[in-house]
């Protein structure tokens, strides 16, 4: 083993320019893979974050909406019926719309998801600073962390929202009472307003506040026993006419384009990995072909195959490891410079998975060259073939 390490590291050290250059190629592949993974995570998070973090076990849709939030309407009677199903602890209406937050100075307005929630009921996010919504029709809002960072908002500040009412832009000012964790929906940060306020602010054909109770898009349902989620979803669908109840995962996976987007990025990452494997395999195969006479000589003087194989494998692992470390460091440095509104999320779990996969796939790519070097005949040292 020590001889294999000696041979392997001596070759790397005495040809360090070549090996470092190749490590940089591995580093570039690592950066590409990590960025695609981060982009996938960012886009995925941007689409599912709000629903994934919802303080409810089930989401209830209008059954004809086919799990499309925009097409679904859940009125007050339906909400009440859901509330009376045994095992349901609380129900909150959720309204989804969009708006633009007017920023100071010359900056472009920030597009946000405008979410109507019922204060104190499922759907209202917990805050990291400030407090929750207090009045069901108050001119107040909870903004998520991203909006607070981009707009420089603190609790007590006011935000101005712009929406289209009829064919005119209207502006609404709400007081920020709380700041929540990031709660993106549709790749936009979210502003949470009481459902009545939301109904007034949201874009409509006819301006003004409706006289009837506002109708949200879906209902967030908390259960007495979350373990009974599957049973309760069936009971809700049985007991309440015209609804479909699903868990949060099903809900966000049904977001238009979510699955397609994730599978596209997953495929892209798989191809990047495949290219990485081929590049690493190709490099070491070319190197092995160049070293055939040397490998033959080593075998002729009695070097065991195990030493030849371990030395080759160690080089592959060392080059891949160095490349992955450089690539990860570069990616980390780049990620620190990204503004918060760009949907790139370096989630430690998926980054570690990507790095681990490269570390596994790199040596796999190089195994072809290891196998080739094991097949080199020592006779080659004498200019003969078997």
């Amino acid at each position: 083993m020590s001889t294999a390490i000696h041979l392997s590291l001596s070759e790397i050290w005495r040809n360090r320019g070549r090996f470092v250059l190749f490590s940089l190629v591995v580093a570039l592949i690592t950066v590409l893979i990590l960025f695609v993974a981060a982009l996938g995570e960012g886009l995925g998070t941007g689409n599912r974050e709000l629903i994934e973090n919802l303080n409810a076990e089930l989401i209830v849709y209008q059954d004809t909406a086919r799990l499309s939030i925009a097409s679904s309407r859940i009125d007050e009677d339906t909400l009440r019926a859901v509330r009376y199903v045994d095992g349901v602890r609380a129900v909150g209406s959720l309204g989804f719309s969009s708006a633009a937050v007017i920023l100071d100075g010359e900056e472009e307005p920030l597009d946000v998801a405008l979410i109507g929630v019922e204060p104190g009921k499922p759907g209202e996010p917990s805050v990291v600073s400030g407090q929750g919504l207090r009045r069901k029709n108050g001119d107040e809002a909870i903004v998520d962390r991203t909006i607070a960072a981009v707009a420089g908002l603190e609790v007590g500040d006011e935000i101005t929202l712009r929406t289209l009412q009829g064919d005119e832009d209207e502006f609404y000012t709400l007081k920020v009472v709380g700041i929540s964790e990031s709660q993106k929906y549709g790749i936009r940060p979210s502003v949470f307003a009481p459902l009545y306020t939301w109904d007034e602010v949201r874009a409509k054909g006819t301006p003004g506040r409706s006289t009837a109770a506002p109708v949200g898009n879906v209902a967030a349902v908390q259960l007495e026993d979350p373990a009974q989620m599957e049973v309760l979803s069936q009971q809700i669908e049985t007991r309440v006419d015209g609804v479909q109840a699903v868990d949060r995962r099903t809900a966000y996976e049904s977001t238009p384009g979510y699955t397609e987007q994730q599978s596209t990025l997953g495929t892209q990452n798989a191809f990047a990995l495949l290219i990485g494997v081929l590049v690493i395999g190709g490099f070491f195969q070319i190197q092995t072909l160049q070293k055939v006479p040397q490998i033959g000589m080593l075998k002729a003087i009695g070097t065991p195959n195990a030493i030849v194989a371990v030395a080759a494998l160690l080089q592959i692992v060392a080059v891949t490891l160095l490349g992955v470390l450089i690539g990860s460091a570069v990616t980390l440095a780049l990620s620190l410079g990204f503004p918060p509104n760009i949907p790139i999320v370096f989630e430690p779990g998926s980054a570690a998975l990507a790095v681990g996969t490269i570390m596994l796939m790199g040596p796999l790519g190089g195994l072809v060259s290891v196998r080739y070097s094991l097949k080199v005949e020592p006779l080659i040292a004498l200019g003969l073939s078997a």
Binding site: T3, R14, K299, I301, P304, N305
Partner: protein, 261 residues
């Protein structure tokens, strides 16, 4: 007393275009410990194939080769590899050294492979290289050495483990006359001093003057074994020698004239 190397009726045959070709046919000879033997013959005479079989790199079709009484053909591939590591020293025509190891590291490689890379082994490697005049080049890489220096490093590596048999394949092929003489003389002297059985395959008949015996191969057979000083001198200087003819030594007269010129 048993010879260090014994080749007994060694035959190597190949099938080529449905006919049997004999690369080596019923070759028999012994080499004693401390004896330096030159294996000569024209191209295609089977000397490199013979050398490969003596090293256990190639299996004879029939016959036996024994080193220190151990028959190579009864060993597995891995056993032969280990046997070469311990018992056989090698000097090749080219690609002799590991290009990314220094002179000292190349010689020490044999010690590492045999688990003898300790202070004593390292001192022995250094001393051998000093003996070969390479004390100034211990930390040089092979690419920084002349051809003669590279061959001397290879000789040091082949002898560092005190092998029973030292095999050299055309060690002077890429050297000028002066360096060729230096290299072969050094190899012969060290073989004698260490008591190994040395076999050198060579085309260069001028080098046989350092050999104790010459085994001459022709068309796969051992054609002649020359051992007297007179015969060896004639072989090395055929132009000055009337008693040996081209037919006897198996070369065309043109080749002899060229080599002897």
């Amino acid at each position: 007393m048993r010879a260090a190397l014994e080749a007994n009726l060694v035959t190597k045959q190949y099938l080529s275009n449905n006919s049997t070709v004999y690369a080596v046919e019923e070759a028999s000879f012994n080499v004693e410990a401390g004896e330096f033997v030159a294996l000569v013959g024209p191209s295609g005479s089977g000397k490199t194939t013979m050398l490969a079989m003596l090293a256990g790199l190639l299996q004879p079709t029939s016959g036996t080769i024994a080193v220190d009484g151990q028959v190579l053909s009864t060993m597995s591939e891995a056993e032969r590899s280990g046997f070469r590591r311990r018992k056989i020293g090698f000097t090749f025509q080219s690609n002799n050294l590991v290009p990314y190891l220094t002179v000292l590291e190349n010689v020490e490689l044999m010690l590492r492979l045999n688990g003898e890379h300790d202070a004593t082994g390292r001192a022995r490697a250094r001393a051998l290289l000093v003996l070969l005049g390479l004390e100034e080049r211990l930390n040089a890489l092979p690419s920084q050495l002349s051809g003669g220096q590279q061959q001397r490093v290879a000789i040091a590596r082949s002898l560092i483990n005190h092998p029973s048999v030292v095999l050299a394949d055309e060690p002077t092929a890429s050297l000028d006359t002066e360096r060729a003489h230096q290299v072969v003389q050094t190899l012969a002297n060290l073989v004698h001093e260490q008591g190994s059985a040395g076999i050198m395959v060579t085309h260069d008949l001028r080098m046989v003057e350092y050999a104790d015996r010459v085994i001459q191969m022709l068309d796969g057979h051992v054609d002649k074994i020359l051992s007297t000083r007179e015969d060896l001198s004639c072989l090395a200087n055929p132009a000055e020698c009337r008693m040996i003819t081209p037919d006897v030594i198996g070369y065309s007269s043109g080749a002899i004239t060229q080599m002897g010129a």
